[in-house]
């Protein structure tokens, strides 16, 4: 019984992390650490990225063709893989964002019903 629920929860979290990574990369290419930092910073440190799941998520996105990577040099002259959104990734981001906003809006409506 519990397996099914677990799986759904994981899926939800995974999906969310994917969305956050895609959203971060819309600002421009970034390396793994920068992505984690950006998510934390933009959520005002509310969302603590489970850094361990960051890399599998990135690779899942590469495998799906939503992001790609190239070699680059970071600010302090260190080599790093820079991840970048693909056209397919942009499309998915737009779609997922609409979906997320609709979902978040609906939840918000329930949690804070407008007084009649």
């Amino acid at each position: 019984m519990s397996t099914k629920l677990d799986r759904e929860r994981t899926a939800l979290l995974q999906g969310t992390l994917d969305l956050l990574i895609l959203r971060t990369l819309r600002q421009g290419p970034a390396h793994g650490h920068a992505i984690a930092k950006a998510i934390e910073a933009r959520s005002h440190d509310v969302l603590q990225v489970e850094q361990g799941s960051l890399y599998p998520a990135i690779h899942r996105l590469i495998k799906g063709g939503w992001i790609t990577f190239e070699d680059g040099t970071s600010e302090n002259n260190r080599r790093a893989k820079f991840y970048r959104l693909t056209a397919k990734g942009v499309k998915r981001l737009t779609r997922d964002m609409t979906r997320w906003e609709r979902f978040a809006g609906a939840v918000a409506c329930i949690l804070r019903p407008t007084t009649e």
Binding site: H33, I58, D71
Partner: protein
């Protein structure tokens, strides 16, 4: 180095991440050691992360399949008997289907090895709506060559001539080609070269050169390359060997290729073949050739009828033996049925095995394997079985096909390619076909088990008396298998009946211990009637002296029914009606009937010495007598054969002083003379001396084993004329290859299929009953413990299977009767024959009972204590 895969430098990436986090932490004011520790805590275990990340990529389609294959192989290793049975079942089915397919492919789909075969056509003509052969002169050939529809045209001719200079003289088949012929056909040389235009220019005598077929090169030069440049003597003229053809070309029929003498003499004319220009269809060619044919008709009215229309047919079409096509399709259908039976069998085995693996599936499902995952696993297993079966089947076909090809009726299939398949039985199309079959069989046989086991319910599978549902699937499959087996057996039975009927057909003569020696005179020998007559007589006398020869007769045409004589024009005053087909005329010596043991019904046969050896008398068969003189005796009637005054060609020499009139002196019994399947046609026998042909058949009745005498017969011929070639065969052999070949071929193949089908049915049934017993082991134990007798248990074990067999049997019988009308159109037997159907049912039932007896007996000898002790 640039990373090309995201996983390259993964460890480095993670290490960088930690370093950066550490630097951040130091920037926040932590001590370096603490900063590093916190960074590691935030990220987690690097090794684990690397592994998780790799896992994203690792589970690709291929890896998963490889995993499934490994798992399946482990499963097979655990139950090798099951795997072997399944693989062998499928191998048998696939071998049969693939073998028959290669014959179909060679005979129908791709009968000639020539390049771009569909553009090669034979030219003919249509005269008053009927297709006729076409012969053209050298000038007409040149005109055709210059028409705009062909890439090339060539004339061809076949002949039998005498090869000398290599031991005993020998008759060899010659194929004449106008010098460009081999180039138009696209035949490359294996050694040396093929003819080019200069070897035989129109209007000039051709160069004395020959190209050898592979066969002749092997048999006469031992396959040695030194054959090139050697001289051979054809009809005592020297010819230089300039080339050898690859094995697949002209691998039957003519043995030596010679350039045709394209003389401008308008009496010489030959058949024509051509290669159509690309994009020109046969119909278009016919339209565009019409003006040319009109011109031919004007120039040569003796050869071209008025309002002639050209006929262009592809070589493949003209050489299809039309009545063999349905036979091949029938065999093909039968092989497909056999494969279907094999699939059902494997299906049964898979279901049975699935039943014993229910626990495994339940556990895997509980561990999170999805339904699709389980189905894929099962499908991979059946694919693996099917492809192993296909590999084994193709290998078996590789060894077995030449044997099947040897059975094929030679005169019904274009033989060129059959030899080629015997040489290379596994070609690319055949391999593709068998791979397709393997896929299909995997799907068919894997479907039912995949559906029933990919949906395990923990609750039902935990109970050990499981499998009620799968046993039902089992019995359905068994019934289906039995039904198809019945159909195949019925078809086989029908074919056997037809063949048996043919063997019983009254031949009207006795073919046992009869040998025929065929004499083909070398060209331009014995060109005077008297000389030829003496030679033939001396041959006969000499052969009569050979030990163990009981009697000797001469016949002009192959004297062995069902091929006997040639239709020729006969006038019977007052008895001819316009619709009459010309009777079959055979020229024989007087002792023909006694040698063949054909009974004389009325009158007499002439004697060899009568009227100086050339009496103008005739003997007719009963059919002829009844057809022309239904109410009176034919004896004493006269008939006229104009050919005997002036022979139609120079190879025949008429006896001097013939007026063409004959008196009928006797009536003999009928023998089949237009094939074994047709009633005898009217026929007339006249003394062979009245018109001597350049070929002769000496018919010898011997006292025992005839073929062993072939050597002494050759010796006898040599003592009369050392330059005279002779070929020897037995009457029974000729009979088998001419009349029964098709039936024998179909029946033997079907019998083979039927035996395998029966074996498969037995295996299927055996596994159904034994799995039922093993599933219900505990139940039977309990029932025995409670006092059930052995008979009861046997009954319980066997009854469902027996029901399935009976159901399958009836379904199969219904199928046979229902399909009879379809199959009847394809010839060979009657599926509706009650004798066949009853016999088939009996055979199947007995086989079924025997195969069920062993597991049933095991069920009856269960020890209740053992049964209760198992979990």
């Amino acid at each position: 180095m640039r990373p090309t895969h995201p996983l390259d430098n993964l460890a480095q990436d993670i290490q960088d991440h930690i370093d950066r986090e550490t630097e951040d932490n130091i920037a926040k004011g932590m001590a370096p050691g603490e900063a590093r520790r916190r960074a590691l805590i935030t990220l987690g275990n690097p090794a684990l992360i690397a592994e998780d990340t790799r896992a994203v990529w690792a589970r690709g389609w291929l890896e998963r399949t490889a995993e499934d294959v490994r798992y399946a192989l482990r499963q097979f290793k655990r139950s090798p008997m099951f795997a072997a049975t399944a693989v062998v079942s499928l191998a048998v089915g696939i071998a049969a289907a693939t073998g028959v397919f290669s014959i179909v492919n060679a005979a129908l789909l791709n009968p000639f090895p020539f390049a771009d075969i569909n553009r090669i056509v034979t030219l003919g003509m249509i005269d008053k709506g009927k297709p006729r052969g076409l012969l053209v002169t050298a000038l007409q050939l040149v005109a055709l060559e210059h028409s705009d529809v062909f890439d090339g045209t060539f004339a061809l001719d076949t002949w039998v001539t005498t090869l000398t200079g290599q031991g005993l003289p020998e008759a060899v088949g010659i194929q004449y080609f106008s010098a460009n012929g081999l180039n138009v056909l696209g035949v490359p040389p294996l050694l040396g070269r093929v003819f080019h235009e200069a070897d035989g220019l129109a209007g000039e005598p051709p160069q004395p050169v020959v190209v050898l077929t592979y066969r002749f090169w092997q048999s006469h030069f031992g396959g040695r390359p030194e054959a090139l440049g050697q001289t051979i003597f054809l009809n005592r003229e020297p010819y230089t060997v300039i080339g050898v053809l690859p094995r697949q070309y002209f691998s039957a029929g003519p043995e030596i290729l010679v350039p045709l003498d394209l003389t401008f003499d308008t009496n010489a004319a030959w058949g024509v073949q051509a290669r159509l220009k690309r994009g020109v269809t046969a119909r278009m060619a016919e339209q565009r050739l019409q003006p040319l044919f009109d011109q031919f008709a004007k120039e040569a009215p003796q050869r071209f009828p008025k309002e002639v229309r050209p006929l262009v047919r592809s070589l493949v079409q003209t050489r299809w033996a039309a009545d063999f096509v349905p036979t091949l399709l029938l065999i093909f259908a039968a092989s497909m049925l056999l494969l279907l039976i094999a699939c059902a069998n494997v299906s049964i085995l898979l279901v049975a095995r699935g039943t014993s693996r229910v626990h495994e599936f339940a556990v895997r499902a509980a561990l999170g394997a999805s339904r699709g995952r389980l189905m894929r696993q099962l499908f991979v297993e059946s694919l693996l079985l099917a492809f192993s079966g296909a590999a084994l089947g193709v290998t078996a076909g590789y060894w077995g096909l030449p044997a099947i090809v040897r059975l094929l009726p030679r005169n019904l299939v274009p033989v060129e390619n059959l030899i080629a398949i015997a040489a290379v039985p596994v070609s690319v199309p055949v391999l593709l076909f068998s791979a397709g079959l393997a896929m299909a069989s995997a799907l068919i046989s894997g479907l039912s088990p995949a559906l029933s086991f990919s949906r395990p319910r923990l609750t039902t599978t935990v109970r050990t008396t499981a499998g009620v549902e799968s046993r039902r699937a089992h019995h359905l499959l068994l019934a289906a298998q039995i039904a198809v087996t019945v159909l195949l057996l019925a078809g086989t039975g029908a074919a056997v009946r037809v063949l048996a009927g043919l063997y019983r057909t009254s031949l009207g003569y006795d073919p046992h211990d009869v040998i025929v020696a065929t004499i083909n005179l070398p060209d331009n020998t014995y060109m005077e009637w008297a000389g030829r007559a003496t030679f033939y007589e001396r041959l006969r006398d000499r052969m009569a002296e050979v030990p163990q020869v009981e009697s000797v007769a001469l016949a002009t045409y192959s004297g062995i029914p069902p091929q006997s004589g040639q239709r020729s024009a006969v006038e019977v005053p007052g008895r001819d009606t316009p619709g009459d087909e010309a009777p079959i005329v055979q020229r024989i010596s007087a002792d023909y009937f006694s040698t063949m043991k054909i009974p004389l019904i009325r009158g007499r046969v002439w004697s060899n010495s009568e009227s100086g050896g050339t009496p103008h008398v005739a003997v007719v068969n009963q059919t002829m007598a009844h057809a022309r003189w239904p109410d009176e005796s034919a004896i004493g009637r006269r008939l006229r054969m104009p050919d005997y005054v002036k022979p139609p060609n120079p190879f025949r020499l008429a006896a001097p002083g013939s007026d063409g009139w004959f008196e009928i002196v006797g009536v003999v019994g009928d023998t089949p003379n237009v094939g074994l399947h047709e009633p005898p046609a009217p026929s007339i026998y006249v003394p062979y001396t009245l018109m001597l042909s350049d070929s002769l058949n000496v018919i010898l009745r011997t006292s025992h084993d005839s073929l062993a005498m072939s050597r002494s017969i050759r010796e006898a011929v040599r003592t009369v004329d050392p330059n005279q070639p002779v070929s020897v065969y037995t009457a029974e052999g000729a009979l088998a290859s001419a009349g029964w070949a098709r039936e024998r071929f179909v029946t033997l193949l079907l019998l083979g299929f039927a035996v395998f089908a029966l074996m498969l049915a037995v295996v299927g049934l055996y596994s159904v009953v034994s799995y039922a017993v093993s599933c219900r082991f505990k139940e039977f134990g309990i029932r025995m413990a409670l006092g059930a007798g052995r008979g009861r248990i046997v009954n319980a074990a066997v009854q469902p299977a027996v029901l399935a067999i009976v159901a399958g049997l009836f379904a199969g019988l219904a199928l046979s009767v229902g399909l009879n009308t379809v199959v009847a159109r394809w010839s060979i037997g009657n599926l509706n024959d009650p004798v066949v159907l009853v016999a088939v049912s009996l055979v199947l039932f007995v086989a079924a009972m025997m195969s069920a007896a062993i597991p049933a007996n095991r069920a009856a000898s269960i020890q209740p204590v053992d049964a209760l002790r198992t979990d």
